[in-house]
Structures are given as structure tokens and as C-alpha cells.
């Protein structure tokens, strides 16, 4: 128990460090935040004048939720990339902490940061879309439950993606992007999965983003209750519970490999 408390306190080190870094790069953060707004606008505007308000909202939800999960996955692997660039990863790996503590700390920051940025973008959307963004009918409780449970899966994927920058800080981040675009393709972010080629559709069934999007759209557009989304929630929970230990295991393999072949050092 004492160990658990200690490790929880230690994981705060990563949250604090990342927020400190965020403050130092505030002007860049504003730039990225503007990009998130432009991205959501560009996608939402496709339907303005062509479809109903519901269609606009359908796309905006896709953009926002995808933005949130992309931030989460990217932040986890960014934390590793950054440490590899600065050379501090050797010091983090030398510290007497469990790898779980290290990665959980990075993941918690990713969730907090992703939520903050997505909430800000969501708050700004009505300024541009006016009556098209009507969240009056949304079931916020269902939305929150879905976001919370599905975060587990995306953390698991983020952990797996984090081994790429661990092995190569130069190219690893791009490899993380490849995983993201694969998920974007099959998960029905901006379209129904039924429009995918038949051979691709089974893959969408194992993507957590598919169920997340379905349930969040149901919660926002149709005021769906938690009970009505219980099937998807359970499925997301199972995927998350499987993906997180799998992600840790993959990262552990990456760490073992890096220590065997000497990939942790930046110089010297």
C-alpha cells in the first residue's frame, strides 16, 4: 500500500514536468490550439449548406473526438521522444521507479491536456457554426463515461506507439503517426464504417475508436443514456483492459531491446 502511495506521488513528477514544459512553450501551444480549431472548422464546414445541423455536428464530433485521442496518443509518445532528444531518458530509466509509474504519469498528463484542449475547442465551435452546434440535447454523463473508458484503450495504443521514439527519436514520431492514420481510416471518424471496402470492415470492429464515436454521437445527437450504451461501454472496457497491459508489455520489450543494443544513449 505504501509503495502504491509512493508510486502515485512519483507519477505526479511527470505531470508537473510536462505542465512546466507546456508553460515554456506557450506560444507554440497557442499555435497548435489554433490548428485544432481550424481542423474542426474545416471538417465541419464540409456539411454546412449541404446537410442538416445534425450532419455538421456529426463531423464536428468526429473532429473533436479524433483530436482528443490523437493528442493522447501523441503526448505519450512525445514524452518519450522529448526525453530521447534531451538525453534525460537515461536518468528517468535510472531512477528507482517502476516503468508503470513512469508511463502512467505521462498518460495522466496526456488525458488532462487532451481534455483541456478539446474542451476549449468545443467551447469555441458555436462561435463559428452558430445554430449548427446545438448541444442542448447532449447527454453529458454518457459522453463523459465513454471518453473516460475509451481513454484506457488509447493509452494502451499510445504505450505501444511510444516504443518507436524510444528506438529512434528521429523517425519514431512519424511511425506513431502511421498508427494514428490507420485508426483514422478504419474507425468511422468522419464516415460510417459501412462505406469502407468489405475487407477493411472487420478491422474497424477491433478499433476502440469505432465504438467510442458511435456512442458519443448517440449521446450528443440522440441524448442516449448510459444504459443504452452499456454494450459499447463494456466492449471499450474490455479492449482497454487488454490493451493497457499489452501496451506495457510491448514497451517493456522495447526497453529490453534498447538496453541490449544500446539505444538509450544520445551521445557518449
Amino acid at each position: 500500500m505504501l509503495n502504491l502511495i509512493r508510486e502515485t506521488i512519483v507519477s505526479y513528477a511527470f505531470i508537473e514536468r510536462n505542465f512546466n514544459l507546456l508553460k515554456r512553450y506557450l506560444s507554440w501551444e497557442i499555435l497548435f490550439f489554433s490548428y485544432s480549431i481550424v481542423n474542426a472548422l474545416t471538417i465541419g464546414l464540409i456539411m454546412v449548406g449541404r446537410g442538416s445541423s445534425e450532419d455538421v455536428l456529426y463531423l464536428v464530433i468526429g473532429a473533436l473526438i479524433w483530436g482528443f485521442f490523437s493528442i493522447m496518443m501523441r503526448e505519450v509518445s512525445d514524452a518519450i521522444t522529448w526525453e530521447r532528444w534531451e538525453g534525460t531518458i537515461e536518468y528517468t530509466f535510472m531512477a528507482p521507479i517502476y516503468r508503470v509509474t513512469h508511463l502512467v504519469g505521462s498518460c495522466l498528463f496526456a488525458i488532462l491536456y487532451g481534455l483541456l484542449r478539446t474542451a476549449l475547442v468545443l467551447a469555441i465551435m458555436p462561435l463559428f457554426f452558430g445554430e449548427h452546434i446545438d448541444l442542448g440535447n447532449a447527454n453529458w454523463l454518457t459522453m463523459s463515461a465513454i471518453v473516460l473508458v475509451s481513454s484506457l484503450s488509447f493509452i494502451g495504443i499510445g504505450l505501444m506507439a511510444a516504443i518507436f521514439p524510444l528506438l529512434s527519436p528521429e523517425k519514431g514520431q512519424a511511425a506513431t503517426g502511421i498508427i494514428q492514420s490507420g485508426l483514422l481510416l478504419v474507425s468511422g471518424i468522419y464516415y460510417e464504417i459501412e462505406v469502407l471496402p468489405v475487407w477493411l470492415q472487420p478491422i474497424s470492429k477491433i478499433s476502440p475508436a469505432t465504438y467510442t464515436l458511435k456512442s458519443i454521437r448517440a449521446a450528443v445527437l440522440d441524448n442516449a443514456s448510459i444504459e443504452s450504451q452499456m454494450g459499447n461501454l463494456l466492449l471499450l472496457l474490455v479492449i482497454g483492459v487488454l490493451l493497457i497491459p499489452f501496451g506495457f508489455w510491448v514497451f517493456h520489450l522495447g526497453e529490453k531491446y534498447a538496453k541490449r543494443v544500446g539505444r538509450l544513449k544520445r551521445s557518449g
Binding site: E16, E90, T92, M94, A95, G268
Partner: protein, 285 residues
């Protein structure tokens, strides 16, 4: 008759027959032909480099053990093996009786390292970097701030600059912060990997004096790798000379000097010993 169990002495650091090799692209002096270049894209020829080759050493509590070697001789690889950042291919390393591979967490609790490259989050201040590092060892922020201020003041670092971003600090100042980071955790095993390389004479003196202070104050085990003969002579109780991953000599400064022939009647220096044994100067690759 009962078997008498032979008690093995527990050293602060005990390295037994450790070997580490890496595979790296084969170096060749010949300019490859076109078809060879194409072949290399798909199948790069690799060679095995023995970075550390069957090294053994023991360091007692309260001792400073120096490792002298040229660039690329295997000093940093050995330090990384001890600090759990590399896994040995053969041999065993134990720190106060705990194995660095199987009891890695226990070893990491009592050890810290200063490397030649002061690696930090350069946009964060020294204070932020030190608090982050201390938290990883379970040290609260207030204690970390108090201790780091003390250490940095002793190293001649102006405490008013602790809130400045690291990228604005000179290399010498960054290295002092790196030393503070390692000492904040009160390590029983301190690995100093060329801590004074590239420092100006004043910073170098400050750091060396501080290492001496640590030796006097606490019973830590210190391993110091260096290029600097005078530094090794001043600080180390025992010195090993490493070349191509192997220890080619080991002993006290006096023992090493005694092993070398005198030069035209004048007694040999540590540098003479080094050149005689390795056939090259300390700065040569």
C-alpha cells in the same frame, strides 16, 4: 563434519568478467562500387565491436576508483552497464551485493550518475529540472530545493540563477547542476563519467574539490572516468587503464608509475604509463 560456508566479501561495486559487444556497420577505407552501394542498402555488413571485454573490478566503500582511457575505449559503456542502462552479454555486476540485472530497482535506489553530457530539459530552469529529478526518488519539492541550493552553493553556482532556463547557462554551470542532481539523492554509489571534461579551469577545480569533500563526508563508492591524468592522480585511490574495452593495468598511482620505465633518469608520470601501455595519447581515438 559440517561444510564451512565461505563468506564472500561484499564490495560497494563488484564487476566480474563483464563483456558487452555491439553490432555496427562495417567500416571500410575502400570506396564502394555502385553495385556494392546498392547491396549495402539492403544488406549492410556488420562487425562486432567489443566495447567492454571481460572486465573485472572491485571497489570498496569509501574508495574512489578511477578509469583512465582514450575516447571510445569503453569507459562510458562500462558506466552504463553499472547504471542498469545496458545489459551485459556476459559476466555479473553487483552493487552492495545486489545484481544490476535481477535486482535493478534496488540498485537504482542507491546509485546515481553524472555523465559528460549534462542532459536536461533545456527550456526548464535548474530548479524545475532538479525538483523533477528529486521527485523520481521520492524527495519532496521543498527538500529538493533546499538541498540543491546547498550543493550548488558549495559548487560555486550562483543560487540566484536557479530559476533561469538551462539553455541560458554555460556548460560548466549545467555540469554543476548535473552534479547537484546526482547528489540530491544521496547515492551510495556515485558514477562520475568524465564530469570535468570541457569545463573551464575554475569550474574544474570546484568540481574536483567537491568530489574530495564527498569522499571525506560520507562512505560512498565513487567511480570516476576521466581523461585528465592530474585529476586521476589527485582524486583516485586506485586506477585502471582501459583500452579497446579491456583493462590493461590496474593499481594505485604509485604502483602504476613504478611499473613504467623511467624516462632518461627522470621518474615516469601517469601519462608516460598510459602512453607506454596503450601506445597512444589520451585524446587520441
Amino acid at each position: 563434519m559440517k561444510d564451512k560456508k565461505v563468506e564472500q566479501p561484499i564490495y560497494g561495486l563488484d564487476v566480474r568478467g563483464v563483456t558487452k559487444h555491439f553490432h555496427q556497420a562495417k567500416r571500410t577505407n575502400n570506396k564502394p562500387r555502385f553495385h556494392q552501394k546498392i547491396r549495402q542498402i539492403f544488406k549492410r555488413e556488420k562487425e562486432v565491436v567489443r566495447a567492454v571485454d571481460d572486465i573485472s573490478l572491485e571497489v570498496n566503500i569509501g574508495e574512489i576508483y578511477g578509469i583512465l582511457g582514450a575516447n571510445g575505449s569503453g569507459k562510458s559503456t562500462l558506466i552504463r552497464l553499472v547504471s542498469t542502462l545496458l545489459t551485459p552479454d556476459a559476466g555479473r555486476i553487483s552493487v552492495f551485493g545486489d545484481d544490476v540485472v535481477t535486482d535493478s530497482l534496488k540498485v537504482r535506489q542507491v546509485m546515481n550518475r553524472v555523465s559528460v553530457e549534462a542532459s536536461f530539459f533545456k527550456r526548464l530552469s535548474s530548479s524545475e529540472n532538479l525538483i523533477y529529478a528529486a521527485r523520481l526518488y521520492g524527495i519532496p519539492a521543498t527538500e529538493a530545493e533546499r538541498k540543491s541550493k546547498q550543493i550548488l552553493e558549495r559548487l560555486g553556482f550562483d543560487p540566484d540563477r536557479m530559476n533561469e532556463e538551462m539553455e541560458h547557462l554555460s556548460r560548466g554551470m549545467q555540469q554543476k547542476v548535473a552534479i547537484a542532481r546526482a547528489l540530491l539523492t544521496t547515492p551510495m554509489l556515485l558514477l562520475l563519467d568524465e564530469p570535468t571534461t570541457g569545463l573551464d579551469p575554475k569550474s574544474k577545480r570546484d568540481v574536483q574539490a567537491f568530489i574530495e569533500e564527498i569522499r571525506q563526508e560520507r562512505n560512498a563508492v565513487i567511480v570516476l572516468t576521466t581523461h585528465d591524468m592530474a585529476e586521476a592522480e589527485r582524486l583516485c585511490d586506485k586506477i585502471a587503464i582501459i583500452d579497446k574495452g579491456r583493462f590493461i593495468a590496474e593499481g594505485t598511482v604509485e604502483e602504476l608509475i613504478a611499473s613504467a620505465p623511467s624516462q632518461n633518469g627522470t621518474p615516469a608520470t601517469l601519462e608516460d604509463v598510459f602512453i607506454t601501455l596503450t601506445g597512444k595519447g589520451i585524446e587520441e581515438e
